[in-house]
Amino acid sequence: MHREHAHRLLREMLRIRRFEEKAAELYTLGKIRGFLHLYIGEEAVAVGAMQALEPEDAVVATYREHGHALARGIPAGALMAELFGKASGCSRGHGGSMHFFDTSRRFYGGYAIVAGGLPIATGLALAETMQGRRGVVACFFGDGAVDEGEFAESLNLAALWRLPVVFVCENNLYAMGTALARHQAQTDIRLKAEAFGMPADAVDGMDVLAVEAAMRRAVEAVRRDGGPRFLEARTYRFRAHSMADPELYRTKAEVEEWKRRDPVAAFTARLRAAALLADAELAALTAAVEADLEAAVAFAEAAPWEPVEDVAKDVYTA
């Protein structure tokens, strides 16, 4: 493991962790409204997976996409401003928490209809193929999406037409408040992809290195052989589904058990045990993350509001 790369992974996960904690704090202060779905606990998935992607690749994510957007390189200020509903937000305040977009980084949303992004990811991959480009589309979704018809339809279409998509299922064991075994007759999600003839892998989603390695294998296989791959990342959401969720469906003991596998703490401990992270390095890294976060909040606070007169702009292009 290269020291610099290890630090990069840790910094990226910390950036997400602290961004989400700050967003929760700002929510309680009323700076952020609407739905807010936090990614805390799942950071290793987005950070690990994003390492395997190039700028020419495309990303499609869900309504719990702050981590993916940060890991893809969208400036935290543009994301925080979007949460504030400001005109400087990455979607000009039209999208909010659930609808981050940045075409300059080929970040295509931000979808709050569960499984709604899968057909679009499939079509983006079709465009890559038809135009002779080599981009791969990384499509993130949760275990709840597996229930939807669009999941089956999209996997079948991508496999049938051998399209360059990596379908990344972030299995956090709950579709909102419904446990996997209570919404799926077959809880081994990989088998569903294999049923469409799609090579599928599963990985410990709490281990950023394991996720990175699995995603690299998948992306390289897509570039080499064509055709889609499926990756199930087994992870856990530490926070409530959204800010409005009293968490009646799971026990505190279960949450505490998973927190012992906290991806940020576990990776930090691992680096220290391997003598790859000195105290001073950790302090510097943490300080840089804090400074970045404070700058993002300040940017969002100072950002202008979209004028109400412009509310009907951009319904149509022309």
Binding site: C90, S91, I113, G116, L124, A127
Partner: protein
């Protein structure tokens, strides 16, 4: 005979005699020839030649990459059209009928229509979706409805109802030039009808069209009801009534200026719409006439719509449910004659 051979025969001053099906096929062929980004996908558009034979011959000419048979997965292939459009292509998606399009409503309403706005203007979705709509062929309650009004309700998409062979071609080509999602509703009874194709017609997606001039009553309609309205107008001459026929053409955004101009001329209006009356496009047009031309009206706006039942199979029942020429004529006579 394919449209390619058909066109050119009997050509007089750039106008040829073709069917509505051939006109659309010719537009598809020209679009596929002229722009490598254009491709057609949908159920049975390739080997089968299209459920309504619109795309027959195109697979042979353009190959399976650009004329793509899809699985029976409306949501996935409409959504894939959105994604392909975002990725730089110009997809034409054929959905077999409007009833089947309900399986893709999530992609259409939640995604295609919202993406530009939701992304703060970053994305455009240059997607064209064609589908057959309407009744008249005894296909009962899951193949026959006219639901284009539901689509016309949605900001972010454009909704077209080409009713003539020229519009069958020109509106498809105009849709392909448009940077936003455009939905074309092709009434299934129009496909075999012949008409004059004007290949030089402007590619206009804004204006309604006056198909027949008249001074006594305006028949406002679109799509498969246009031939009925024109037939009714012809019959009305025998009763001394000169009906004006306005073809809406574009159902979203509506060109109400053209409708209101006709109302100002005739002062009486019948809106003919094959959809169910309740919550219909006829209701919207009627409301906008009330808002925009209330004092021009000599009589209340009348509507001729379908009976509010799922479409029955038996021919006599289906005919009883649908707007018919006789009904339009009778409504017009009552409206004009009843005016003291």
């Amino acid at each position: 005979m394919g449209a390619g051979r058909g066109r050119g025969e009997g050509r007089v001053h750039g106008v040829t005699r073709v069917t509505y099906r051939e006109a659309i096929r010719g537009a598809l062929r020209d679009a596929l020839r002229s722009d490598q980004r254009v491709f057609l996908m949908g159920e049975d558009v390739g080997r089968y030649g299209g459920a309504f034979a619109v795309s027959r011959g195109l697979l042979e000419e353009f190959g399976p990459e650009r004329v793509r048979d899809t699985p029976l997965s409306e949501s996935a292939f409409v959504g894939a059209g959105i994604g392909a459009a975002l990725g730089g292509m110009r997809p034409i998606v054929e959905v077999m009928t409007v009833n089947f399009s309900l399986l893709a409503l999530d992609q259409i309403v939640n995604h295609a229509a919202a993406l530009r706005y939701m992304s703060g203007g970053q994305l455009s979705v240059p997607l064209v979706v064609r589908m057959a709509t309407g009744a008249g062929r005894q296909l009962a309650a899951q193949h026959s409805h006219s639901l284009e009004n539901w689509y016309a309700h949605i900001p972010g998409i454009k909704v077209l109802a080409p009713a003539t062979v020229t519009d069958g071609r020109a509106m498809l080509l105009a849709a392909l030039r448009d940077p936003d999602p455009v939905f074309l509703f092709e009434h299934a009874t129009l496909y075999p009808l012949e008409g004059d194709l004007d290949e030089a017609a402007p590619l206009d997606l804004r204006r309604a069209a006056v198909r027949r001039e008249g001074r006594d009553v305006s028949l406002v309609t679109y799509g498969g009801s246009l031939p009925k309205a024109l037939a009714a107008a012809e019959q009305l001459t025998a009763h001394g009534i000169a009906a004006e026929v306005v073809d809406l053409r574009v159902l979203r955004p509506l060109d109400m200026a053209s409708v209101l101009a006709s109302v100002a001329k005739t002062h009486r209006v019948i809106v003919i719409d094959e959809a169910w009356r309740t919550g219909s496009l006829a209701a919207e047009v009627s409301a906008q006439i009330m808002e925009g031309a209330f004092y021009e009206l000599d009589r209340p706006v009348a509507r001729v719509c379908s009976a509010e039942v799922p479409m029955p199979y038996a021919r006599h029942l289906e005919e009883a449910v649908l707007p018919q020429v006789d009904t339009i004529v009778a409504t017009a006579r009552a409206l004009v004659g009843g005016h003291g």
